[in-house]
Amino acid sequence: MFDHGQPSYAEVNKDILSVMLETGPRYWMLLGTTMSVAVIFFFMPWFYQLIVGVGAAGMNRNAYWGTYLSNFIFWIGLSHSGTLLSAILHITNSPWRKSVYRSAEAMTLFSLMTAALFVMVHLGRVWFVHWSFPIPNQMGLWPNFRSPLMFDVMAITTYLTASSIFIYMGSVPDFAAVRDASTGTRRRLYTIFSFGWRGTAREWHTLGWAYTFFAVFVIPLAVSVHSIVSWDFALSIVPGLHHTIFAPYFVCGAIYSGTAGIVTVMYCLRKFLNFERYIGQVHLDNLGKLLLALSLIWSYINMLELFSSWYGGSSFELEALKFKLTGFYAPLYWEMILFCAFVPLLMFFRKFRWSWNKMLLISILINIGMLTERFIIVATSQPRKFLPNAFGFYFPSWIEISITIGSFAIFATLFLIFIKWVPAISIYEVKETLKPLRRDA
């Protein structure tokens, strides 16, 4: 499974740790840019919006939910697969997972955080956001547990906690490795991170057991999270959102975009951190197959959704459908269909599955498609509700657009910081996959 011959244990350590221990100027430049982009495109517009009010965004009487919420879903979606995939693959212990999962889980973590940020941006009075947490308070008021938004709060916080523990636990031995490879303050830091890991048989055993336990525990969580996010919409009676198919639709979509995201990240790791040795054809191939399968499921559910709208025959649903397929945002819709349903079919052919560049392109297209899918959900259903006289139109303002761009920078920043602090590839698990060396070697 190694393209360029199997490395020795020492080499593994060296390769992976070098990323952290010696940093070139390129890294700092990159970090600097992403950070400044994040500030300029995300935080400054947000600050402005906090001053003048949500009116700074393009939302109006016809669409109280806008780009912010659609981005929120997108990032939640991206967060899937990361942990989920690694957990499933861990249980079905498929070896090719091992060099991929660490960064995949990191992706989960950071996109979740970005998503949470979007909730804040969306709120009208974010300074009271703590009211939506069940904290005992002076006023003796509790949040409304019937509200899907409350479900969200619960689900997301749980998922965030669980997956951060999961990723942390997985990297304890690697922290130890870093500790041993470093000196001074960093060493002290990693001593703390690694909880004084020695690598005794007992520790290994406990870790293995706990890790598997969490893997099992995380899988249903991941599924629940996006189901619940979907209920934000499905629990409304708005035509175009009021579908029972929404939960699986969202989950599948989430994993889909997530997996695509992983491919993108893999590509970057491989390219910029020279992990060619560890991230090879086999990963690409497997991910490709997975993507293909997901795309098929996704297309199927999509058709189902259209069908149930049409077959239901309610004038409300039909109107919403008509607007979606032929209305102002129809081009976006068809663009989504193209990118998410047809482009992936190319992966039936090996020469696509095996080419990093082609796969990168496909994965990015898929995620663009998914981004628009989320946008279409909010932008086409709300302006076509029940009373024709209140029909309207929604178009995002420049603030929303720039904040959307900024969110990617935030994600990148977090990820860059991550690869600096945590081994981007699980050292010990990679080692597990190495063929045992002969004594005389």
Binding site: Q138, G140, A176, R188, T191, G196
Partner: protein, 181 residues
Amino acid sequence: MSISVLDALRPARKPALLGLVAVFGLLIGAWVHGKYFSDRSPVQPIEFSHKVHAADNEIPCQHCHIYADTTPVAGVPSVSKCIGCHKFLPSVRDQPEILKLMAFWENREPIPWIKVHDVPDFVHFTHKRHVKADLECQECHGPVETMDRITRVATMRMPWCVDCHTEKNVEHGRDCWTCHK
């Protein structure tokens, strides 16, 4: 080289302790402020003493706060009201505070009293209902007749209201629209 976490943590002890002390300081500071620097008993433009009026001279509250039982606001007495009595009280006429009062009256200026019991604008409290429910003024305003300078004894915050409504089980008294509208 040791790999014990404790050893690694040792250098962090000092800053941590400092932080702890600072937090304590913070709490103490907040408490001190609440006790001594808060607006619970502001200095009024005229050192009006409820003790003298309500206790020593046994003037009933509503003799001056005439609107309390008929309108949402209790109302502070008009300047003319004060004068109405004080022009017949030569004994205290040349006391400094009374002179201030007279000054206001001569210039036909209202007295800019500072609000002690203040609630946000989105709270629509009505004195009338509470007075008509036979609540003693003191139940909310404290032993006013013992105060030379009025001090707010109750927090005047929502839990304080709700608690009372609950224990007196006011009919629908916990419906938000009882006070917020």
